[in-house]
Chain length 334, copies 2
């Protein structure tokens, strides 16, 4: 749907986390990302070659993908000059932000004039039903986190990759704009109307073969007061058979909520599991995924060993060490 390869637009991202869309594309579909475009003062770097619009176009880039999200998910006025220049040079634009490229008059008229396409992957494309809670065939695993941006999508993508390598049947189910930009389909859950959230998750993870796993991308956290309703809809709409707890141990306060400290893995387990069992009484917490990006190898190893002992579950950083342990835990359930 979206023409590749991309030039990833990092804009004026204040920090690395703000560029997680671009980072996700670079990590999971590096063949689609030809370079990165950074504005003055940009605090993010996803490790691709910095390119101008002209350089990237000459290297074959078709689409400028907005790989940065500021708080509230709005298109910044500061980006407009670059976006308009890109359209004038023949790029398409793709974005997962809340306000839409197509609703910006300057962008939509410029796109029309130059024949460019505006892809707003956040816009729900289907009329989702109200959830009916009926048990579906096939199996589902959901990543739930202590916070937003702790590695739930990475965990799901790495798990999907590991399961396919083992010959298991699995499908990554994207529920956010990055996942959708990476895989080309999914449900932009945070843009769905409240009443239809759980139904959208049911729709995304339909009946399947008994030994097929849907790997559902998590969103938010039960402990993140801004987005916990979205997490709740995933837990009930997804009726997961398995939960994987995700955590970033060096994070002190909840993302965007400086007054809130992170819960422990035990707290998330004890909150999420009884809620999940409302929809699927057989649900189990089967593994822990730790984002150790801010730890040394030795620190990461020690922390993972400690977590395994403390919670009695396999613990791994799927980005650092691969997701085989997680895939093994699911394989044992099939």
């Amino acid at each position: 749907m979206i023409e590749t390869p991309y030039l990833l637009f990092l804009g004026d991202a204040p920090d690395q986390l703000a560029a997680k869309v671009a980072q996700g594309i670079k990590d999971w579909r590096p063949e689609n990302a030809i370079g990165q475009y950074r504005m003055t003062g940009c605090g993010a770097d996803v490790g691709l070659t910095d390119m101008t619009l002209a350089e990237a176009r000459d290297a074959g880039a078709k689409t400028l993908v907005i790989g940065v999200a500021n708080r509230g998910g709005m298109i910044s006025q500061a980006w407009k000059d670059v976006l308009i220049e890109a359209l004038e040079m023949g790029y398409d634009l793709a974005s997962g932000l809340h306000n839409l490229l197509r609703d910006e008059r300057d962008l939509s008229s410029c796109a029309q004039m130059h024949g460019g396409t505006l892809h707003d992957v956040r816009v729900p494309t289907d009329a989702y039903p109200i959830a009916n809670g009926k048990k579906r065939s096939g199996k589902r695993v959901l990543a739930v986190g202590t916070d937003c941006s702790v590695g739930k999508m990475y965990t799901a993508l790495a798990l999907d990759e590991a399961m396919r390598r083992k010959g298991m049947k699995s499908t990554f189910r994207a529920t956010g704009q990055t996942g959708i930009l990476i895989t080309g389909h999914g449900v932009p859950l945070d843009a769905v109307i409240a009443d239809f959230m759980a139904g959208a998750v049911e729709y995304l993870t339909p009946d399947n073969d008994a030994d097929h796993w849907d790997i559902i991308e998590g969103q938010g956290s039960l402990y993140h007061v801004s987005y916990s309703g979205v997490t709740m809809a995933l837990i009930h709409g997804g009726q997961p058979d398995a939960l994987i707890l995700c955590h970033e141990p060096t994070r002190k306060t909840m993302r965007g909520l400086p007054d809130y400290t992170l819960p422990s893995l035990e707290q998330v387990r004890d909150m999420a599991l009884p809620l999940a069992r409302i929809a699927n009484p057989a649900c189990q917490v089967i593994a822990i995924s730790i984002n150790t990006q801010h730890m040394s190898d030795a620190e990461a190893d020690a922390y993972l060993a400690e977590v395994e002992t403390r919670l009695g579950l396999p613990a791994v950083d799927p980005f650092r060490h691969g997701a085989e342990k997680l895939a093994d835990a699911l394989h044992a359930m099939t």
Copy 2:
């Protein structure tokens, strides 16, 4: 905003619960409801005089209010003849359903031709922020239920009335179409985009006097897999100081979910309170509200006494016995 008095349209409501919008208006603003309009096969009756469109118009009715909700909240084709005739006779229409009067071509063209107004109270009227979780001044109480349609709105409206009678400062905060139709303002929470749900609740219940109570209308249930995400957003966005548990003891299965049995009051207490304490560590469960409409006086009294003993909290049916006990419990906290 909406011209009164109303004629309440019950349409082809399959049962009494499907007419809860009309029932709510009749119970809480009877002076606004001049009569009811029922189609052949209607299984609901809110106890008003049955009137034709002409009779009600002659009696002064200005607006035909759609007081019935079918599953999914859609405008039924079967209602169209009546709605169009009403517009032709000079009525305005008001609706809280998911699909909008204004989006029905036959209704919007007919309204335009005859000068009628189409009020869609479900449409969010403001751009809500993302929740920031900051502690707000003033106090808030939220009704949480074992299921949908167990009396959360009634509890909140009765509590508001009782508190005002006691001279306490209180405001009923509507979060659903009935509440909005009754009070003329509020947030249609189930129509809000997922990411902004909790922020909409924060917006609805802003800073206030230290001794002022917002009485927040509850929605759904943490145990209702179709709508639990909305409930979650109320618990975190509302940052309640007090929770009132609502229950209908004769209900066997969850509304619309025949495979799901109702949780106990203890289960709801034990699930809702730790979640509420994430946003407000001081939150307490302070009382129980029981919908005893399907019980005799003796049965209701015995059940309430048993619940008071079992949970160690005041228990009352606010519709049957008034909400003084609930107001007293809040007064003790101020």
